[in-house]
Symmetry: C2
Amino acid sequence: MLTFDILEYQERLKNTKERMAREGIEVLLITDPANMNYLSGYDAWSFYVHQMLVVIIDEPQPIWIGRLMDANGAKATTWMYDENIMSYPDYYVHSEQYHPMEFIAEILNEIGHGNRHIGVEMDQYYFSAKAYMTLLRKLPNATFKDATSLVNWVRIIKSDQEIEFMRRAGKIAEQSMDAAVSAIHTGSRENDAAAAIYYELIKGTDEFGGDYPSIVPMLPTGENTSTPHLTWSESYFKEGNAVIVELGGCYKRYHAPLARTVSIGPPPERLERLGHIVREGIENVLDRAKPGIYLEELEEAWRESTRKYGIEKESRLGYSMGLNYPPDWGEHTASIRKGDKTELKPNMTFHFIPGLWFENDGIEMSESFVITDDGVDMLTNYPRELIVNSPFHFPDDSSGIIS
Amino acid sequence: MLTFDILEYQERLKNTKERMAREGIEVLLITDPANMNYLSGYDAWSFYVHQMLVVIIDEPQPIWIGRLMDANGAKATTWMYDENIMSYPDYYVHSEQYHPMEFIAEILNEIGHGNRHIGVEMDQYYFSAKAYMTLLRKLPNATFKDATSLVNWVRIIKSDQEIEFMRRAGKIAEQSMDAAVSAIHTGSRENDAAAAIYYELIKGTDEFGGDYPSIVPMLPTGENTSTPHLTWSESYFKEGNAVIVELGGCYKRYHAPLARTVSIGPPPERLERLGHIVREGIENVLDRAKPGIYLEELEEAWRESTRKYGIEKESRLGYSMGLNYPPDWGEHTASIRKGDKTELKPNMTFHFIPGLWFENDGIEMSESFVITDDGVDMLTNYPRELIVNSPFHFPDDSSGIIS
């Protein structure tokens, strides 16, 4: 069931160990499910209980430690020997009396690594405050170092196979956006549109099946377009509403997000104008992107383009992304924003999402792209414009786009 | 956009403050998105950045603190005054230089609560080790207490409206299971079945729309039925495969999970026998459940029923559930297992999932139920048996169940 060749996992592990050595980390305790997957192949929805991948700088294979019922899943999806799959009994789960980190600390002590320089992902969803305090208490001779995003930075440059997976995710994103556009009309509820999107996201194409994206489709509608992260309601769409659709195609945990704004009926002039401004800004940024420049220069390109229209954007314009698990497809490394000195290199991948949100409305258009040897290549190909739908559904022309 | 009457939120807040008083907590910092929703109404996919609901024991309204772009969403979905919605600038997001908890600590200091007895949810996905260490550093005069699951325990007894939402979720779960059963045959890939499930989960019924469940559908197939938390692949189903389907209907963030096992073609005798054993065990437990008994007695009822067949189950049999966000629909309070002394009370709700996993196979059948005045009532109504499908798809009889 391995997703990549075993050599690719070993290359990733080697790169991780090099970074560990530079940071003075001998034992890395990985709790980020994407980092666990990246190094071991482990893929299951078990991150709602404590689990960990232990990378020891002088051991050839990582150790997976998780819940007993998930051990068979670890054996099935990882490249490591079965001896490297260890599990804790079920009474540790959601208990006020026992904590899985006690069990894990005992293993580290037993195998002689409890007194080393140990890296932990301090600012990561699945490494709770209590998990850390428990390790501190049970490993009094260890020296802890913050290793947040250590593996994430190894992930930032993708292999060709990873890029191929993201291109497949891009195809899935395109067909899901088509389904969204078709479903946004006055005869349809927001959840009907979300259902149509989800069907395409998971069905995928005849050649490759879809995986669940790390973020659900967002569908802020009407006044709620003033904020990006509302999901959907069971209300019918109304004529005159604008709807922001942000979704992500996913193939084997690799993402390609895509956002567009759909107007139900002719849009207000203001929204149309915003559409042109955002499009021009996106194109200015894409023209600038190539290896060797810093991410902050992309933000400058955006600012140069939009400043003349009086647009100022407070929030970042995008971020590195690829492999991930809920609740985020972002990689938590480089961001497209002022002050980010990350140098662009081939096979870096970004979601560029210069959303604009005002007091009572907003607009989003986004693009996922990969840095090539001399510029960028898009992961999705979708009309880069404000989409204007007929308010009514025409069964014979399922798109209903006013052209 | 409020989901419940404002009086229901205030009742929940009152119950929370009573519990805070008992625990000696003056200020409760809530980072669990379900607890934030429960007390304020806040509902958005923004928990991938740091955010918080602050409950102050002597203040009438909680304070929401989150990212600037999410403040409009908080104004739209919560019952609090706009002054109680505060937000941090975007440069705090996924930064190695700034942490949102610095901003939050400054607010607590400014409004005069930085030196009080502060409860934090120490073992919760969205309260990272770094978040805690940052608060410790920035609030040196505070006394911190572990308040993990404090609000979760308030949530354990549902209101009638919450139960009604879970019944709707139950209807959605049933129709999604129908879609799963119809899609499991040799002409279909695992992801095709997942797509069919997702479509029904989100579309919901004509009366009420579906919400995204906190856990994606699980579809371990063939040998992988030996482990519960594998999602799906893009492989075609094979004749002779068994498929475990675990899914959860969701309505306005309230869940009703349901699991069944589907055999593609006649099942091995062993699987059939396991099906009967699990069914008998479930029925024994449901017969015993009523107000006044302890949860561990339900585990005893299971053990009495299954021991005679030589079945021993290591893992817990179920858990309290209801309102939640990814990655779990479980409530992290009471579990159906040995030693759990929680007394059953009317309007408690559980997912009872006595899955059995062996070296090369496994079976799951589950039920979601509510405790009534004198027994239990089911949240879903689905044939409680091993489902046997024809291996082939008959378009005219979309279910393909062998009867």
